[in-house]
């Protein structure tokens, strides 16, 4: 409850926890969403074939009994017998087949069906067996995708096969089989969860019977409410100032876990200073410019001043916490210890024959990556300019325009952030450094391209990790992008709430089943 007046309010007995969030739901239907706010709810109520346990990065069977490649293009999953939906319907392989088929059939523009790019067809030979026929062989990423957006299994007796099912119908039909079911649903306002006694899966039984999820528009209100004890948990997103303030507050705990969110600067190889399409095109000078930027950025200052430690310096492409995370940029650039080095940058530019100051147009989005982007980039501009090596022309654009412009070669250098689709190093590399990539920044390195393709089908985990490290070393030398910050997951809980530290892990899923009170 949030009534300071208090009569009805704080009914939070040991059996009930209220969580506050600013993440919004798009829709409960897994086929129609590709965003964290929706996933946060879906994770609690829908079953997934595979998952990771608390504090682990290993993908293991969740709903499934077993899952393995039975041939290079066949991934076979076995279900236990006698599974049921919370509404009593049978949960069988036909539901699984239905879930994936409809996701691809609907191909909702807001959905994540594109992540199933490698899925050719799904087969359900009997009630407990599902066979996924894949296009590419030995796809090591496919099992990871089953843990994320398109991996949620839905009830084929409730959901429509060719269109999205409205939230109200889903809740009405109680078509859930996760650790929790939804008992009342007020869209983006208040959702009540109840533990699902029939849940059979990886996680231990839910520790709290009732969980309420309350939505906020303003993080300052979320902060005030958790501070005043009106809610038990605040998870995503509090401002850095708020978190710092709450750290000093005895009534609440600030719990931190590894974060999958990273921030980086993208260089457009065509239009950056000395880029391929500029009048004075010169790859060596262009590289020197990128390297000088990498030399000059003071990640620690950004982390301290702008984010008060809620984001930490990032010197690699794969963030810390995931297999394959190494820090090649720390040795290569700056003072070698993670700090900036102006002399090194100056030498580099001089050696390449670049006349200083270099004029750099730097673009950022003020509305997509949280409220601190402006401060972040003001500081970066200041860091680059204070050495006299750069003059930065800083510009911001509203997000939609930004998204269009960045792939249209309008911005020579610009801000991006990334939140992974699934928690694996692959998701921090493949989208970015293939020749055909999501950045469209004209970065071409055939060697890197081939290595990326190779790691995706390498069965041996150690060998694969080695490949991923090699890729990062090579990209770090080319500097297609300059990563600089990695987010932390921060949950603020009342003193009597436990379990938040269990669920803040590299799965980046906040699982309510871990939380307990009292």
């Amino acid at each position: 409850g949030c009534s300071a007046g208090g009569e009805t309010g704080d009914d939070a007995s040991g059996d009930s926890i209220t969580i506050g969030t600013t993440d919004k739901v798009t829709t409960l239907d897994p086929a129609g969403s590709y965003d964290n706010g929706s996933l946060a709810v879906q994770t609690q109520v829908f079953p997934y074939l595979l998952n990771t346990d608390y504090q682990s990065t290993d993908v293991v069977p969740d709903l499934a009994e077993s899952a393995e490649f039975t041939s290079p293009t066949e991934y076979t999953v076995k279900l236990p017998a006698g599974l049921k939906w919370a509404n009593g319907n049978e949960l069988t392989s036909s539901d699984v087949k239905f879930s994936f088929d409809r996701n691809i059939a609907i191909a909702d523009p807001n959905g994540a069906s594109s992540l199933l790019y490698n899925l050719d067809s799904v087969e359900a030979p009997d009630d407990t067996t599902v066979v996924f026929h894949l296009k590419a062989e030995n796809d090591q990423v496919f099992p990871l995708i089953l843990t994320s957006f398109p991996g949620a299994i839905v009830d084929d007796e409730v959901f429509a096969a060719d269109e999205l099912t409205p939230d109200a119908d889903i809740v009405e039909a109680n078509a859930f089989a996760g650790p929790y079911v939804i008992t009342s649903y007020d869209f983006n306002n208040l959702v009540s969860f109840k533990a699902n006694p029939d849940y059979k899966g990886l996680l231990p039984a839910a520790k709290t019977e009732t969980v309420n999820l309350k939505y906020y528009a303003e993080s300052s209100n979320l902060k005030l409410d958790v501070q005043e004890g009106n809610i038990d948990v605040a998870y995503r997103s509090l401002s850095a100032t708020d978190i710092e303030d709450l750290k000093g507050n005895d009534n609440v705990n600030v719990v931190e876990g590894p974060g999958g969110e990273i921030r980086y600067i993208v260089f457009n190889f065509d239009t950056q200073p000395y880029g391929a399409k500029t009048p004075e095109a010169d790859p060596a000078k262009a590289l020197a410019v990128r390297q000088a930027v990498a030399d000059l950025i003071d990640r620690q200052e950004l982390s301290d001043q702008v984010y008060k430690g809620t984001y930490t310096p990032l010197y690699s492409y794969v963030p810390a916490g995931l297999a394959g995370a190494i820090e090649p940029l720390q040795e290569l650039y700056g003072d070698g210890n993670g700090g900036p080095d102006a002399d090194k940058a100056a030498d580099r530019l001089a050696a390449a024959g670049v006349t200083t100051p270099v004029e750099l147009n730097l673009q950022y989005s003020n509305d997509h990556y949280g409220p601190s982007s402006a401060d972040e980039y003001a500081l970066i501009k200041d860091q680059l300019e204070s050495t006299g090596l750069f003059t930065v022309n800083l510009q911001t654009t509203e997000w939609v325009q930004y998204s269009e412009d960045r792939t249209a070669d309008v911005y020579p250098a610009y801000q991006l952030g990334w939140f992974p689709d699934y928690s694996d190093a692959d998701n921090y590399i493949t989208p970015f450094f293939l020749i055909e990539n999501f950045l469209s920044n004209h970065y071409v390195n055939q060697e890197v391209n081939d290595l990326i393709i190779e790691q995706a089908s390498t069965l041996d985990p150690a060998a694969r990790t080695a490949l991923i490290e090699e890729i990062q070393q090579k990209v770090a030398a080319d500097l297609s992008t300059v990563p600089y910050l990695q987010g932390a997951q921060v949950a603020v809980t009342g003193n009597d709430v436990t379990g938040a530290d269990d669920t803040l892990d590299a799965s980046f899923k906040f699982r309510y089943a871990a939380l307990a009170k009292g």
Partner: protein
């Protein structure tokens, strides 16, 4: 031999020559006024439609940072946002004519959105109007009564301060004082979780929390709901109260210098009664007219208030939908706002006609 310069003043009773029937006139007037709403809505929706298309599409807004440019194009194509605007426009109009206002991006019928959030805004506007009346009108009368004296100056500066303080700033200060320091009122939201769940369980929720709270039969729930309404209504209400105060003052002073007030004075009517009875009621007419306009402004001010106080209403939703480029939702909400404003103006005209016996159609 001065003549009156206004032809109407000395004109003979005209009813003999013009053939108006009072009853039919009013009905006709209402009809015409009602019909006038249609072009207004049509123009607004068209305007919004065109504007929104120039601001980009919802897919990019949502997935621009997550998928490749090619795939983005594919999705946009699949959703039909790359077709010519005129085609999309005709399609939308066609939908409206068949009574289909479309669904939002997250698959909710626009009508449902309007209902859920419209009620919230309605409640907020209603409460803040009460605050505005309670503060604006009495203080306006007092200011007029003490015109150009100290009391008047203080009240006028107060009115301007009400208007000059940005809602979000005022809201923040109110929250800090009453919710964080004094802890007598809730920080934000329309009700506490407990109360909200109790209301959620009602078989026929109205969405108007005050009414829902009454229906739960629990005084605690009602108290909780009312407590939550206090700060937002004050924050938004003060803004309007400032306008009302100024308006009441000006109009009352204006009417106090009319002949009929002088005439009443010459009959020995007391000064207090002159303000209360003679000046106040005629002065109310322009004020009521302005209320019609204030509704649009209140709805606008509501955006900031709703954000500041987590009041999940239309204004707040509208700004969210705007940022998500949810054309359909934005158009629906705008059309509703237009209807509300038009209806208010319409009702206001009728109320004004009731107060002012001269206005009869």
């Amino acid at each position: 031999m001065t003549s009156t310069t206004t032809p109407a003043a000395g004109a003979p009773p005209r009813s003999t020559r013009s053939t108006k029937t009072p009853g039919g006139g009013l009905g006709r007037y209402i009809l015409v006024r009602a019909l006038l709403i249609i072009p207004t809505i049509f123009i607004l929706v068209t305007l919004v439609f065109v504007l929104m298309r120039t601001t980009g599409d919802p897919i990019t807004a949502k997935l621009g940072g997550q998928v490749t440019a090619d795939e983005l194009q594919e999705r946009i194509h699949a959703a039909g946002y790359d077709r010519p605007v005129i085609v999309q426009y005709l399609e939308y109009l066609g939908g409206i004519f068949t009574g289909n206002f479309g669904t939002t991006l997250n698959n909710r019928p626009v009508t449902e959105v309007l209902l859920t959030y419209g009620t919230a805004t309605l409640e907020l506007v209603f409460y803040s109007l009460i605050v505005a009346f309670l503060i604006g009108i009495p203080f306006g009368l007092v200011a007029a009564y003490f015109r150009d004296k100290g009391q008047d100056a203080v009240l006028r500066v107060f009115a301007i301060l009400c208007y000059a303080t940005p809602v979000f700033f005022a809201g923040l200060l109110l929250k800090l004082v009453f919710a964080v320091w004094l802890k007598v009122l809730p920080v934000a939201g329309r009700a506490s979780t407990g109360a909200q769940i109790q209301m959620e369980l009602l078989p026929n929720e109205t969405g108007l929390y005050t009414i829902d709270a009454i229906m739960t039969g629990s005084p605690a729930v009602l108290g909780d709901v009312l407590a939550h309404a206090v700060l937002p209504s004050i924050a938004l209400g003060l803004l309007t109260a400032g306008v009302f105060l100024r308006l009441v003052r000006t109009n009352v002073i204006g009417t106090l210098s009319t002949d009929y007030v002088d005439a009443a004075r010459s009959r020995g009517v007391s000064e207090f009664r002159l303000v209360r009875k003679h000046a106040y009621r005629p002065a109310l007419i322009p004020i009521i007219t302005v209320i019609g306009l204030q509704i649009a402004l209140l709805l606008g001010g509501a955006v900031l208030t709703e954000t500041t106080f987590e009041w999940n209403g239309l204004g707040f939703q509208l700004s969210e939908y705007l940022q998500a480029r949810d054309f359909v939702a934005v158009q629906g909400i705008v059309a509703l706002l237009a209807v509300i404003v038009a209806l208010t103006n319409f009702v206001v005209d009728i109320i004004a006609a009731l107060i002012d016996p001269r206005v009869r159609y």
